[in-house]
C-alpha cells in the first residue's frame, strides 16, 4: 500500500529525514518509535503533505502512485489520514460542519453521493458512542477549548468517520489519562481491517499494550535503524533510547 524509498527531507536548512525506507501492506499495523527529534513526526507530516518540509531525495509510493505529487487534500481524498500530534483549534467552525464538509469532499472524490444532514448525523452519533465521546463536542468549534484528551478523541472520531485506507497516528497517546488512552485504543482497534493499514507513531510503548502492532520500527537521526515485531517495543521500554543515541553519534562521526 505504502512504500517509502530512501526518503530525505528538510525543514528550511535543517535536514531531518536522512534516508527512510519503509513498506506498509494492507491490513498491517506498524509502530514507529524513537526518541524526540528522531524524525518520526516529520515522516508523518511529509506523508500527509505538509509544505513546511521539502523532500530532497527519494520517493513515496502509495498504491503504486507517486504520493509526493499530490496535494494534501488529494492525499486525504485518496484515503490517507493523519491524526495530528497537536490538533489545530479552529474558532468559528463547528466540529459537525467541519466533519461533514470533509466527508463529503472525500465521498465526492470517490464518486459517492454526498450525505445529507440526517444520514450524516446517524453515522456520527454511532461513531461518537463507540469512542465514548461527549456529543456536545460536536456542536462546538473544532478543538476550541477541548482538553488534551478530547482533542485526541476528536482526531480518532474524524478517522472513524472518514474511514481512511492508510491512517497515521502521530503521538495520539501522548498526554492521555488511562481512560482516554483505552477509549482511543478501542477506536483504533475498531478501525483495524484487512483493507486498512495504520502507522502508529509513538514515543512510549504504552499505547502498544492496547493496540498490538504487526511491526515495530525504531527511528533515530532521520532514518529507521531497527525493525522487528512487538518484542522490539518491549525491549525499548526496558532499555530506553540511550543505546540509539550512541549509535546515532557514531553515525554522525562517520558522516563528518
Amino acid at each position: 500500500m505504502l512504500e517509502i524509498r530512501n526518503l530525505h527531507a528538510k525543514a528550511g536548512e535543517k535536514v531531518i529525514l536522512r534516508g527512510v525506507n519503509l513498506k506498509v501492506g494492507a491490513g498491517e499495523v506498524h509502530a514507529i518509535m524513537g526518541p524526540n527529534g528522531s524524525g518520526k513526526s516529520t515522516l508523518a507530516q511529509v506523508i500527509a503533505g505538509r509544505d513546511l518540509y521539502e523532500v530532497t531525495e527519494g520517493e513515496v509510493l502509495y498504491e503504486g502512485r507517486n504520493l509526493l505529487e499530490l496535494s494534501p487534500e488529494e492525499r486525504a481524498r485518496e484515503g490517507i489520514f493523519l491524526a495530528f500530534q497537536y490538533p489545530v483549534e479552529i474558532p468559528g467552525v463547528s466540529n459537525l460542519y467541519f466533519l461533514r464538509t470533509a466527508l463529503n469532499a472525500i465521498r465526492k472524490h470517490r464518486g459517492l453521493e454526498e450525505l445529507d444532514v440526517m444520514d450524516f448525523m446517524e453515522l456520527v452519533r454511532e461513531r461518537v458512542k463507540l469512542l465514548g465521546m461527549n456529543e456536545a463536542l460536536l456542536e462546538r468549534p473544532v478543538n476550541e477549548g477541548f482538553s488534551g484528551g478530547e482533542k485526541k478523541r476528536n482526531e480518532i472520531l474524524q478517522m472513524a468517520v472518514l474511514e481512511p485506507r492508510l491512517a497515521i497516528l502521530d503521538e495520539t497517546d501522548s498526554g492521555l489519562d488511562i481512560d482516554a488512552l483505552k477509549a482511543v485504543a478501542a477506536g483504533i482497534n475498531a478501525m483495524r481491517s484487512p483493507e486498512r493499514a495504520m502507522i502508529v507513531v509513538t514515543h512510549y510503548q504504552r499505547l502498544l499494550e492496547y493496540v498490538e502492532p504487526d511491526f515495530v520500527h525504531v527511528m533515530a537521526d532521520g532514518r529507521i535503524v531497527r525493525s522487528g515485531d512487538k518484542e522490539l517495543a518491549r525491549e525499548l521500554e526496558r532499555q530506553g533510547y540511550a543505546w540509539l543515541e550512541e549509535e546515532a553519534a557514531l553515525a554522525q562521526e562517520n558522516r563528518s
Partner: protein, 441 residues
C-alpha cells in the same frame, strides 16, 4: 481631539449652487425652523468645506476625488422606479422604504409609528424640533452639515414607551441615479420610548457602475431602560461614495447594540457615535468590513461615557483583499463624572492579500480615575496550520481558506439580530469573497 477645522477651498461652490436650486423649489414647502436649520447647516459647510487628510480624523481617507465631482440632486421618486429585489425582501420584518432619501411608505401599528419627516414636522413640529439635528452635530462635520442642509424629507420612527416589537423593522434605502451623478442625503430619526424593545435594520442598496454619493445620517434616542438592536448594512454599488453617520444618545439603564456591516461602495466612511448619557447604560458596537479590489473603508467610532457605571464593548473586524484599504479609528471618552466605567475595545483584521492596507488607531481619552478601559488591535493572515489541518481532511485549498475567512467574520455575524439575517450575511460574504474581482487567488 481638538484639531482645528480647516477645509479645502474647493468643492463647496457646486454644493452652494445646488442648494440655491433646491431652495427655489422648496422655499414654501417646509416650516421656517426647518428652513433655518438647513440654511445654518449650509453656512457651516460653506465655512469648513470638506476635510482633508491633514485633519487627524480624516488622515487615511482622501476625499479629493469626491470634492472634484459635481453632483446633482437625486430626484424625488415618482413611484414608477424599478427597485431591485434582494434577500432582504425575504426577511420576516416590518419594511419601510426610501428612494433617493424620500420615503415611499410608512405605517402605524400598535406601539410603532413610521412617518415621513416631512409629515411629522407639519403635524408635530415640536417633537421633531426637539430631536432633529440634536445628536448628529454638523458643527465640525462637512457631511452631516450637507445632509442637514439638504434634508428635505426622511423617516421618523417612533417606538412607544413599553412597546415590545415582535418583528424587526427594516429600513431600506434605495437609490436610482437615472443616468446622472446624483447625491442623496437620507435622514432618519428614531425615538425609542422608555422600556421599549426593538430590532432595527437599516440598509443602503444601490446600483453598480454608477458614481453617486449617499450621505446618510441617523439619529437615535433611547429612553430609560430601552433595549435596542440596530443593524447598519451598507451594500452600495461598486462606484459609490458612501458616508454614513449614526449618532445615539442613550439613556439610563438602557441597552444598545449597533452592528455595522460594510460590504459595498468604492469609498466608504462609517461613523458611529454613542453618548452613554445615563447611569448603568450599556452599549455594544460591533463592526465588520469586507474590502476588496480598490475599495476604501473607513470606520470612525466614538463612545462617550458621560455618566457613571456604564459599560461599552466594541469589536470591529476587517477582511481585506486585493488592493483595498481600511481604517479603524475608535475613540473612547470617559468624562470626569463617569466613574466605574468599564470599556473594552478590540479591532481585528485579516489580510487576504499582500497589497491590502489597514490603519488602526485606538484613541482613549480618560478623565476619570476609577475606570477599566482595555483596548487592542491585531492584524494577521489566514492561519497556515489551520489551512493544512482542513486540507489534510480532504477539504480543498480554496474551500479551506473560505471556511476560515468566514469563521473569522462569524464572530460578528453571529451576534447580529435578527438571527434570520446571519445566514444571509454569511452567504453575502461568501458571494463577495468568491467574486474574482479584486480577490487574491
Amino acid at each position: 481631539m481638538n484639531t482645528a477645522v480647516t477645509g479645502t477651498a474647493t468643492g463647496q461652490e457646486s454644493w452652494l449652487a445646488l442648494f440655491a436650486e433646491r431652495e427655489r423649489e422648496l422655499a414654501n414647502e417646509c416650516p421656517w425652523w426647518v428652513h433655518g436649520l438647513r440654511r445654518t447647516a449650509l453656512a457651516r459647510f460653506a465655512e469648513i468645506g470638506f476635510p482633508t487628510t491633514k485633519i487627524e480624523e480624516w488622515r487615511y481617507t482622501n476625499l479629493a476625488p469626491l470634492t472634484r465631482t459635481v453632483f446633482t440632486a437625486a430626484r424625488r421618486p415618482t413611484g414608477h422606479e424599478q427597485l431591485p429585489e434582494t434577500w432582504l425582501d425575504g426577511l420576516d420584518a416590518i419594511v419601510v422604504r426610501t428612494v433617493n432619501g424620500y420615503p415611499i411608505s410608512g405605517l402605524t401599528q400598535r406601539g410603532l409609528a413610521i412617518r415621513s419627516l416631512r409629515q411629522a414636522w407639519q403635524e408635530q413640529p415640536e417633537l421633531v424640533q426637539n430631536h432633529l439635528a440634536r445628536y448628529a452635530s454638523f458643527d465640525r462635520h462637512a457631511f452631516v452639515a450637507l445632509n442637514t442642509a439638504f434634508c428635505e424629507d426622511g423617516l421618523l420612527v417612533e417606538i412607544a414607551p413599553g412597546a415590545v416589537l415582535d418583528k424587526p423593522v427594516l429600513l431600506l434605502h434605495h437609490l436610482t441615479p437615472g443616468g446622472e451623478t446624483v447625491a442623496s442625503h437620507p435622514r432618519v430619526l428614531v425615538l425609542a420610548g422608555a422600556n421599549s424593545q426593538a430590532n432595527i435594520v437599516e440598509a443602503w442598496l444601490g446600483p453598480d457602475s454608477a458614481v453617486y454619493l449617499r450621505n446618510s445620517v441617523t439619529e437615535l434616542v433611547t429612553g430609560e431602560g430601552a433595549v435596542l438592536e440596530y443593524v447598519r448594512l451598507e451594500m452600495e454599488g461598486d462606484q459609490a461614495y458612501h458616508f454614513g453617520a449614526f449618532h445615539a444618545r442613550h439613556g439610563r439603564s438602557s441597552t444598545l447594540a449597533v452592528h455595522t456591516i460594510l460590504l459595498g461602495g468604492n469609498l466608504v466612511r462609517s461613523e458611529v457615535g454613542v453618548v452613554l448619557d445615563g447611569e448603568g447604560a450599556s452599549a455594544t458596537l460591533n463592526g465588520l468590513y469586507l474590502a476588496k479590489g480598490r475599495q476604501h473603508m473607513d470606520n470612525y467610532t466614538t463612545l462617550d461615557h458621560a455618566r457613571p457605571h456604564a459599560t461599552s464593548l466594541e469589536l470591529y473586524k476587517g477582511l481585506l483583499d486585493g488592493h483595498s484599504e481600511a481604517v479603524f479609528h475608535g475613540r473612547i471618552i470617559v468624562r470626569p463624572e463617569a466613574q466605574k466605567t468599564d470599556t473594552i475595545q478590540r479591532n481585528k483584521n485579516l489580510l487576504l492579500s499582500r497589497d491590502a492596507v489597514i490603519n488602526t488607531k485606538p484613541q482613549l481619552e480618560i478623565y476619570a480615575d476609577d475606570v477599566r478601559c482595555t483596548h487592542g488591535a491585531t492584524v494577521g493572515q489566514v492561519d497556515a496550520d489551520a489551512v493544512f489541518y482542513l486540507r489534510s481532511r480532504g477539504i480543498g485549498h480554496q474551500e479551506a481558506r473560505r471556511l476560515l475567512t468566514l469563521a473569522f467574520a462569524q464572530e460578528i455575524t453571529d451576534r447580529v439580530q435578527p438571527p434570520a439575517l446571519r445566514e444571509h450575511l454569511a452567504e453575502e460574504l461568501l458571494k463577495r469573497l468568491d467574486d474574482p474581482v479584486g480577490v487574491t487567488p
